[in-house]
Symmetry: C2
Subunit: 686 residues, 2 copies
Amino acid sequence: MGYTELDQLAVNTIRVLAVDATTKANSGHPGAPMGLAPAAHVLFNKFMNFNPKNPKWLNRDRFVLSNGHGCMLQYALLHLFGYALSMDDLKSFRQIDSITPGHPESHDTPGIEVTTGPLGQGFSNAVGLAMAQAHTAAIFNKSGYDLINNYTYCIFGDGCAMEGIASEAASTAGHLQLGNLICIYDDNHISIDGDTKIAFTEDVLKRFEAYGWHTLWVQDGDHDLQGIEEAIQKAKDIKDRPSVIKVTTTIGFGSKLQGTGGVHGNPLKTDDAQNVKKSFGFDPDKSFVVPQEVYDLYGKHSSEGAAKEAEWNALLGKYAAEHKAEYDDLIRRQSGKLPEGWEKNLPTYKPTDPAVASRKLSEAVLEKIHNAIPELLSGSADLTGSNNTRWKNAVDFQPPVLNIGDWSGRYIRYGVREHAMGAIMNGLAAYGTVIPAGGTFLNFVSYAAGAVRLSALSRVRVIHVATHDSIGLGEDGPTHQPIETLTHFRALPNCMVWRPADGNETSAAYYSALTAQHTPTIMALTRQNLPHLQHSTVEDALKGGYVAEEAKNADITIVSTGSEVGICIEAAAYLKKNHNVTARVVSMPCWEVFDAQPQNYRLQVFPDGIPCLSVEVLSPMGWERYSHEQFGMNRFGASGPYKEVYKKFGFTPEGISERAITTINIYKGENVRSRVNHEPRAKPEN
Amino acid sequence: MGYTELDQLAVNTIRVLAVDATTKANSGHPGAPMGLAPAAHVLFNKFMNFNPKNPKWLNRDRFVLSNGHGCMLQYALLHLFGYALSMDDLKSFRQIDSITPGHPESHDTPGIEVTTGPLGQGFSNAVGLAMAQAHTAAIFNKSGYDLINNYTYCIFGDGCAMEGIASEAASTAGHLQLGNLICIYDDNHISIDGDTKIAFTEDVLKRFEAYGWHTLWVQDGDHDLQGIEEAIQKAKDIKDRPSVIKVTTTIGFGSKLQGTGGVHGNPLKTDDAQNVKKSFGFDPDKSFVVPQEVYDLYGKHSSEGAAKEAEWNALLGKYAAEHKAEYDDLIRRQSGKLPEGWEKNLPTYKPTDPAVASRKLSEAVLEKIHNAIPELLSGSADLTGSNNTRWKNAVDFQPPVLNIGDWSGRYIRYGVREHAMGAIMNGLAAYGTVIPAGGTFLNFVSYAAGAVRLSALSRVRVIHVATHDSIGLGEDGPTHQPIETLTHFRALPNCMVWRPADGNETSAAYYSALTAQHTPTIMALTRQNLPHLQHSTVEDALKGGYVAEEAKNADITIVSTGSEVGICIEAAAYLKKNHNVTARVVSMPCWEVFDAQPQNYRLQVFPDGIPCLSVEVLSPMGWERYSHEQFGMNRFGASGPYKEVYKKFGFTPEGISERAITTINIYKGENVRSRVNHEPRAKPEN
């Protein structure tokens, strides 16, 4: 019904392009594109609204290929529909500096919404994209202006279905009743180890039903285009639940290895590729051939998409006139820029202000700025009262029918699902109109490591509010006390790790995180109270590191972060009083930011001539970049009241003083080179 | 039926002890123990076989409290049943150096099987414990000798049920048809953020049905002891599936805040605690009181357990006579020691042997040693052909009814479930008779970070075979190329990271991993071929770092690991030939092991007087501990053929030489202090 040979030709064109590109690259995954081509054809050509000339049109339907290894499917579609992805780009598949890398990367390739490949991430991003749509619609749609009504479509495979992160996200989406989310499950029974019967025999649709999803099954996904269309239409008609359509397909359809693991991750053999082409009516000796009628077919859909965008822009124009403030807000949000003057809301502190935990300081920031930054969506992985992520009058983001919030709510209850929270936040950020911040204990950001990595790689502004950031959490003990965590994320490119020492530094951390449009931030915050430093300012803290206590003719620099800075300052006083040793103290809340400062500034902070001791109740690894000796935790922590835990490990003024004196003695008589000095020294050995 | 006031008194004693201990600690979670006391009472007193005098009896039933925050439940039970956990230990709950820390830790507390608290881990450990039982039974049980037939019981809460890791493990257990696994789901509708209706509204039992589990529901878990008993008995009767029993309970039962989040993570108020005691017939003014009849009741069960062990030991004695070899093997396995002479099977290599990828070298080791070490169970998270973790004649660990393996099989198909794989391996190792090794890409060990951390904390011998360890994986691109991963795990205490450079180093890595009885290992292995080094030996590599190319009067030390060592040796030749610069090259496959060498050895490897450049195609963070300058990846990688990727980033003999010369120039004229020298220098500035 309605499907012609032209449709079949288009489907086979996608398949053959996948064969050609993987053959030319001598690398890649032809199987998934060949199996999924029918479903993708119907989805893209019958349902999806997009304009390839403006891949950033706000109300476009979002598409996520969660099984990102099948990206030749997506690259072929982007090319055929007329995105700025040429045939040459397809020929450069998996080559250096191409826009067609081995897995889809959103920052380089037009039409790629999110960076996928690590399994389960894309599915969870899709949940975030759908949540962002629901929220943005609730905020901006007005009577007569159904401005934001796009769908989010996602394809995922068996691998994604096995990953826990996708389970978490699916449970979340079911709870949230996201009727705007439609997922196609590529049920091809093959993963890398072969038939899924060896490891994966659960009833996937029944599981999704248990989550509250609407489920459908297309039994012949290789041929039944009409069935695929009907299923997607039914899914669209169900508004109060997300839908999953199991489409049973044959991996590598057309190959003589079809239906086996042999076609999953390797190019087809030459004769096989030739036979595929022959059987699909293509010239077996030619590669990268697209019949003009396929370009025409898809071009027609793209033109319709462009027309839809034009129509939408007209509606937006009327909206601008009638709802000026909302219009301005919507446009501004898409620019990534924050409202002018928002930063005036950031609290500042005097040294005499009472000591307070930095998780509470973070709460104070959120309380002060949430009105000024309406796109900020906070939340927590079931640790709201511990993470202090919720401002007083926050409304939960919930389906209105539950009567515990609504779609316009700006507080997200992620449940105990840290990994999905990370990936959902990536999806939220990718939508383009919201900035997500999500809380958990720092130790459990590690559960979300896969998602945090993709925040950094895909350059999205996501904020991890990571409280209980050390042995300072006390009684919960070693299972909850991070040791390696900050080293881990400091080593991650394009990820800012902030560990503020007091109120002004916490405000600086938020300033930095919120203005970093293309970088995620992990904010490590204490459970225990911290005094405000004598000399901290937001401005200094924004340099990433600064001298918190200067001293002339110092014997040593002590550098520290967060909760230990105050103790180091006490240690400096102790050293002076008891040992007549002069110490200067550096606070370094963010290495990434400090490393970006000019060399002369960095040398002012860490001058030549005296040794430096670093102090942090976490793994010392990496501190060697700044300090000659390190005082940190080379073991797991201990369960007990936090002051006793600090004492047990020697993180007291006395304990730090002892290590400072040792450090001075080691380097006594040497013309010490600052660890940040990487220049030849004019007179090295004077 | 069968339950008396004494049972109720026992239940209430557990509850009151939980109230007292959290009150005394002024910290902790009374709610879960109070709600779970009835289920735990029935489970421990009616079903579980154990002997508190020998908590390591091999055939004991295993118990895992996955919601580890409720550990006062477990501590109370251990005390009451007569384990070496005194009333004073209960009074030291959550205090420094006690055996009753804030979450249960297996290495310190008798009767604690696995370290739990990070949610979802314990549940997944339980799956591993049950798998180990099935495997050990298949290997050792003989006609007339049903030697190994214990059950694994696990309690988990809503938090665990939300975590993806538990979903992965549950799907695995369902596939594996683990009839020896019985889990109690504490359905109390409360998590930290309050009622679970705000985030967790799925049908948990239906989901478990979808995984293939047998499901049961006890509707009144607060009172219906008989119903709990019947459910557990039914679960035991079902032999071909794991069982989950949903027990609906009231969190904090007895408190005036019962059924609310208020009783989850805070001690009861004084008056509330007093009222609880009164209502349970306890003296409100006394704490830590156990009625003698409760000790007697539980003591009777423990005596029966001791008798069962004695009976079992008698059976084992007969077994020893009839099946000497198996008996010896079983006893040896429990000692943690490997079979004598196993290491003779480790392959060694000559420099002239052909270049080969270290993932293949790892395969060669497994091929050679698997007969010698029968307790070694390999596996992969659906990357068998890529990780090369399967020896040729391996049999899959599978339920025999599937006809694709059997319980005696030593190759585990984990599916695309890295996090569960990590936690299941922790459970396998904790059982005491197997050594698990599991493969995935190094980048996706990060998905398992939560479990790896607990391997290290709980001191179990687990091997992560982590292939595709860098940009050297090539075309799959930045989504799959680790950058931060080794820094992360090097910073983790009690975790060995090995990155071997060739065949002899790979053998050394396995020797180290397999003989480290209390330390997990991550083995970073290449996809690409590596030449065998001229001077590598297993013996040298076992020092963690050694001079791979010595040179007299060297200008610089270049230190590297894995795939870059060979390139650095080429760079040394290039430097000599083109710049008349003399470089010595250090290979450092394992930092943890190197750091444990004597200081004089470390100074031989990294001598004073010349600067050191480190080279590794990963984050340079941490290398400052050994090198003055670092050449590494401060950004994400690129998709392309691996040699081109290496070239793009300068990891070639020419590129390394350039950085070496820069390094030499920076430190020219200085009396350079070795980075591993932390002693005062006698004549520092000569």
